[in-house]
């Protein structure tokens, strides 16, 4: 695996391999010394052109716990402010000799474009409405931890699917691992066309609530408010929010998930966020080992084609 740009580049077997590797790194998180020398001497640049707290911190910790050196770069305090182009910025960073660039950008497709401008491995930490593959991996890992596997599980993704890179990555990863995905939300917040998406659509959360294994709530982005897409928060909460009443109808072994940051009282009521079925903090905790697995696969073993068992290839040894 040279880069991680999209879950769409991953086969079900790739996903399973990454989740296996995640379990190895999760064990390291339980030790007193939460660090291994696997990526000693490697340099990882965090290029965040869009704000982020949890993803950046999580990648940062993941790289450090692999003993890589980390340089953080955020658009607000760099030459981007002076009008430097994305290409110049990236070429400048990679001229300094880095092994991986973890990139977040408000425009879809930026990570893939970057691969043309740098020899470093590129890891997508979220691009526009497109993809957020490490979020999908940590969501899969969290569900797998609770249920053993995703096979046959019923998962509802509820909310603003259209503007959500988390939803696009999750739908792809969940269904590849055998789960059944239902999208729930107002028509205005679902993609205009779902042709080819392996999902069902339900306009009403209450009609599916009772037989879900997982209810995955998306963050309502405040900037969509007041527009024609979303008239009022109160109306949204009444129809799609995970309120206490809805929580009572959820199965006792179901999971409540959210990519964060949560809008308590909008898509999720405080009672639901603090319920024992809510695994939001498990999701955050899974972020570090998942990103260690991704960094290790991309920089540690990226130059090897692991699926190819063809004899005769030479490896320096």
């Amino acid at each position: 695996m040279r880069h991680l740009l999209s879950t769409e580049d991953l086969s079900p077997a790739d996903l399973a391999d990454l989740l296996d590797l995640t379990a190895n790194f999760a064990e390291i998180q339980t030790r007193d010394i939460k660090k291994v020398p696997a990526l000693r001497g490697k340099t990882v640049v965090m290029a965040f052109f869009e704000d982020s707290t949890r993803t950046r911190t999580s990648f940062d910790l993941a790289a450090r716990r692999l003993s890589a050196d980390v340089v953080t770069f955020s658009a607000g305090s760099s030459s981007v402010k002076k009008g430097e182009s994305l290409r110049d910025t990236v070429e400048t960073i990679s001229a300094m000799g880095v092994d991986a660039i973890v990139v977040r950008h408000a425009s879809s497709g930026v990570p893939r474009r970057l691969t043309e401008w740098t020899d470093a491995a590129v890891i997508n930490a979220g691009d526009g409405w497109h993809q957020h593959p490490t979020q999908a991996l940590l969501d899969c890992y969290t569900i797998q931890q609770r249920f053993g596997s995703l096979e046959g599980r019923r998962i509802a993704i509820c909310g603003d699917v259209n503007h959500s890179r988390v939803a696009r990555s999750d739908i792809d990863a969940f269904t590849k691992l055998g789960a059944e995905v239902v999208l729930v939300g107002p028509r205005t917040l679902l993609p205009p066309s779902l042709e080819g998406w392996p999902v069902k659509v339900e306009a009403d959360l209450d009609s599916v609530l009772g037989d879900l294994d997982v209810v995955y709530l998306l963050r309502i982005q405040q900037e969509r408010l007041g527009s024609a897409l979303l008239p009022s928060l109160r109306e949204y909460r009444a129809r799609y929010g995970l309120t206490r009443q809805r929580l009572d109808r959820l199965r006792p072994d179901a999971l409540v998930m959210h990519p964060g940051p949560m809008n308590r009282g909008v898509e999720i009521d405080p009672e639901a966020a603090d319920d024992e079925r809510a695994v939001v903090l498990d999701q955050v905790a899974a972020g570090v080992p998942v990103r260690m697995a991704v960094l290790y696969r991309v920089i540690g073993t990226g130059q090897f084609d692991l699926d190819d068992d063809t004899p005769g290839r030479e490896v320096a040894a």
Binding site: R31, A38, T301, P311
Partner: protein
């Protein structure tokens, strides 16, 4: 060498072809018992002794050593398992991936750790294991038990307990399990 690693190291997809049987299952069993007695003798009992088997080849021998110690001394010695992939020195030379999980559910600080592996060859796995153990705590001592010492060390590492000293050529391969020890070679699958 464990199966997953063998598939990904030259010759790719190679298979182990045995040429001669060095020890049969009964002889392996006797060697494990002898090593267990040596562990007791060397440490004057089993106070503070813990066993850690290296994934994946060393794990069955670690379990067998623990069982033998229980039989001899009637003491249940804690047995853990360690995967050293992330500590290896060849991470950028070949696709190093963990074979299995690390499970050391006890504190090793101030303990005598008996590290167990199936075959001692270059010593590089043991070097990685020493670093991995140090990250788990500060043992009073680390001792090394191997079923087979086949020579060709590349590092100043020597075993404390040896099941069988087996002179080999570098290009030969040794397969050591509880069912027996075989000498042969890994050849490309046809």
């Amino acid at each position: 060498m464990a199966e997953r690693e063998r598939r990904r190291t030259p010759p790719y997809g190679g298979v182990f072809v045995p040429r001669s049987i060095v020890l049969d299952a009964a002889a392996v069993d006797r060697a494990v018992r002898r090593m267990a007695h040596e562990v007791v003798e060397r440490n004057q009992g089993l106070d503070d002794v813990v066993i850690i088997g290296l994934q994946t080849g060393g794990v069955p021998f670690a379990d067998a050593l623990g069982a033998a110690l229980l039989q001899i001394e009637n003491v249940e010695v804690p047995v853990g398992r360690l995967d050293v992939a992330f500590y290896r020195d060849d991470i950028n030379l070949r696709p190093v991936l963990p074979e299995a999980s690390t499970e050391v559910p006890f504190d090793i600080t101030r303990k005598v750790v008996v590290l167990v592996d199936d075959v001692l060859f270059t010593g590089r796995t043991i070097r990685a294991a020493l670093d991995a153990i140090m990250d788990q705590g500060r043992p009073r001592a680390i001792q090394l038990a191997v079923m087979v010492d086949r020579g060709h060390r590349e590092l100043p590492i020597r075993p404390d307990y040896v099941g069988k000293n087996l002179p080999t050529r570098r290009d030969e391969a040794v397969n050591a399990t509880l069912d027996g020890v075989e000498l042969g070679e890994v050849t490309r699958q046809v």
